[in-house]
């Protein structure tokens, strides 16, 4: 039986991982040192990510690892369309792109990325996908977040589909950006039509508050008591900041696989490769875990929450190159329903 995981355990896990940082041999290799020298000459590098929290930690961590290179960041849900539009217009202002595999496919298909040698940054072959254009960096899982003064963890369901129940009407908030992606993952389990029906139930029957604004503010003020489909590591950051909430990973466990890419035409080619490689490298992953409470959800993970989920036999749906097309189609079908742009 699936067991819910406490956030306290999660925080301990994050700290354990940060203490066990992997070796840094790759940084000392002549190839990397030469690349670093070239990158220093370029002086700066620009990275775009899908969320401010995903990129906010990067300048400090990267500068600590490779001093002398200034990192400019942009965190925004709309980076994919923005990057495609800019590239179409012949403007190339971004060096490194960080997003979910799902979001990266349209950009990859339009030749926006370039392949690099990921092995020099200590990555295994299996961590370089899409013909070497994307280096896998980290995984996240979707979580159900609730105010601890309103709900007990045991009272809440273990399955996403039960959240469409009438009893949660008027109590939930969700992200316009994340919800279609969560339902896209659930759709891999219940099928496209099932996903569309689920979306209709949620937005129609549950009076779900759908917003582009941060959901933690709605939880903090008490405007809503449940946030449906949040990114797990953001929730752990909220808890660490004193927000009176806890979270639960429901089944099927929906994960998102993130990756980094170097843009095909970049203003800072060496710094771009160095930053992208660093982010996907063991050092980059460790720094990310330390700064953002992230866990690795891939099979064999020793992080406490993923390990407990795997031990409990929970159904985990991974974001893979093979299922991305299907998931993207479901997201495209569900998204207009969620936003009210289709019936």
């Amino acid at each position: 039986m699936f067991r819910s995981i406490t956030s306290g355990l999660a925080l301990i896990g994050a700290l354990t991982i940060s203490a066990a940082a992997p070796a840094q041999e790759w940084k000392e290799s002549p190839k990397i040192q030469a690349l670093y020298k070239e990158a220093q000459k370029e002086g700066s590098v620009v990275i775009w990510g899908t969320n401010a929290a995903e990129v906010r930690w990067i300048p400090d961590a990267f500068t600590a690892a490779f001093p002398g290179i200034q990192v400019e960041i942009l965190g925004d849900n709309d980076i994919v369309t923005k990057a495609i539009t800019e590239a179409r217009g012949g403007r190339h202002s971004v060096d490194v792109f960080q997003a979910t595999l799902n979001s990266m496919i349209p950009a990859f298909e339009r030749n926006l990325f370039t392949a690099i040698d990921w092995s020099m940054f200590g990555l295994r072959d299996s961590d370089a996908v899409l013909k070497g254009h994307v280096g896998l960096s980290h995984t996240t899982a979707y979580a159900l977040v609730f105010r601890t003064d309103k709900f007990k963890k045991a009272e809440l369901p273990n399955n996403w589909l039960e959240m469409a129940d009438e009893k949660y009407r008027g109590q939930m908030v969700s992200s316009l950006f994340l919800l279609p992606r969560l339902i896209g993952g659930i759709g891999l389990e219940i099928g496209e039509q099932g996903a569309v029906e689920y979306a209709r139930k949620l937005v129609g029957g549950s009076n779900l508050l759908l917003t582009r604004a941060p959901r933690d503010t709605f939880l903090q003020t008490g405007e809503r008591s449940i946030a449906l489909g949040e990114i797990d590591h953001l929730v752990r950051a909220w808890i660490a900041n004193g927000l009176p909430v806890d979270y639960k990973i429901l089944t099927p466990v929906i994960t998102s696989q993130f990756g980094v890419s170097v843009m095909a035409k970049v203003p800072h080619p060496s710094a771009a490769r160095l930053l992208a490689g660093y982010l996907a490298s063991p050092d980059g992953r460790a720094a990310r875990t330390k700064a953002t409470f992230q866990f690795n959800y891939l099979p064999g993970s020793t992080d406490p929450v993923p390990a407990a989920l795997q031990a409990a036999g929970a159904k985990i749906i991974y974001d893979t190159v093979e299922n991305m097309g299907e998931r993207a189609e479901i997201i495209n079908r569900v998204s207009p329903v969620v936003t009210g742009q289709a019936r």
Binding site: T85, G90, P180, Q220, Q341
Partner: protein, 569 residues
Amino acid sequence: MTGRPQIDLAGRLIPAAAGLLVVLILGLPLVVLIYTAFRGPGDFLPFEDGARWTLNNVANLFDDPVILQQVLPNTLIFVAGTACLTLTIAFVLAWLVERTELRGRDFLFSLILFPSLVPTVLLAIAWITLLSPNAGWANLAIRSALGLSQSQGPFNLFNMWGLIVCQSLASTPFMFLLLTATLRTMNPSLEEAAQASGANFFQTFRRVTIPILLPGILAPFILITLITLEQFELPLIIGLPARINVFSYRIYNELNPASGLPNYGGAAAVSILFLMLGFLALLLYNWVTRENAKYVTVTGKAYRQSRFALGKWAIPAYIFLGIYISFAAVLPALTLLWTSFFGFRMPGSASWADFSFSAYLVLLSDPTFWRAALNTLIVAVASGLIVVLLATIVAWTVTRTRFFGRRALEMLTFTSLGIPSVIVAFAVMVVYLSLPLQIYGTVAILVLAYCYRMATVTRITRSSLIQIHPELEEAAAASGARWFATQWYVLLPLMMPSLISGFIIMFIIGVREFTIPLVLYSPENVVLSVLLWQTFQAGQPSVTAALATLIIVLVLPVIFFARRFLSTN
């Protein structure tokens, strides 16, 4: 003195160059937008290799039941509701300030203008904090004061009514300014005659005041309809959670879908549909303002504006003013100030231990804030200067010459009034992505896009020129002054108050503009209003509130300067 002064080469070249610039800035994006609507596939830019002619974008529009059954009706309800409510609130406020013996009118005037001077995003954030149905501070306070056991309300921001009320509060100052001008110039002799004939206040108001003012009310009403049609911020922040889709959001959504690729062709097709609505309203506005000549109330005959004593109506009048000013100015400002120091801790439950300056320190130590502040200043000042310069030359060309195409130029500048900013941003984006100028993503593209507001200033400069008799220029020319010297030393000083007014208006528009930079922004050209939205989205309520407070502090001196300057000129 007879005849027009001779116009030398400079007097021909400068207006021609200005005319060309106006066509490039205002006309070209419009043409490219229409072109884009007939190019496909939808995710291709119109001039891109692989793009071809197609009717699919337009056909899809009429095939889409959501556009016809949801977006269009929602937009019409939103626009009609907002225009009517705005007119009602603004008329009462304008009448109280201009036609009654209300105390503190000058101070109240400035407070009423507050929402028009700060970014609407900022007001939206404050209203959400105050009026969210479950935990809005105003709702909690009312439920507590009245001992209500319900867990929601009495106010709910997230529905069509909430959207209409908020948009009306935000739009009222603009309508108020237009109506105060109308009321101020109204000859009261007819009202006095009615009262001398025994009519009471309400009879006079219904049978004399309203009919006289009707044309002067109708024109701003149509204008506010046009302006509401293009609103984006509140539909995005308040309408979207309630799944109220209006056309401006639809266009934005085509360009930035929650998933998949941008649909340029689809966005252009939707834009054209609503441009047609805008043009219809514009034609109506033109027709109404032309009819205004039949109702001249400002004559050469001297009169003194009389003011009504409010008597027993003073208390309801102050209550009305109090409610408006509280929700439109004071409460949003205080909410933001409080949140910047205490986060979301409610007044009453917070202690001094919760007080912190950290949000301001975070903000002031962030280079992005300084870049955004500098960009905002550059864009607001540069677009203001360019617009004032071009608008002055266009107005001179139209009123002082018989140059070929001057009427078309005037029409073009005026037409820009009917083009929603989300369409402006999109059109400008397509143009400058297609031209090899490399200004997409820079501050320059924002400056060019903001120049779309030229219509506002053209009308000011044109009115100013009409009031200056050409005999002054003729005298200068007869004394041997060349064209440029005549304009520089004679006309420009006389027009200066109007030019400064135009610049102030453009500066304020530049500081609060949100839609255009949201579509066109990059890390390089980020402005304060977009930074406000980004910090809000990133879950930094205190930093967002601190930024909003700093914007208010930046804009407040401008309000008082503008009020003093505009009232003395």
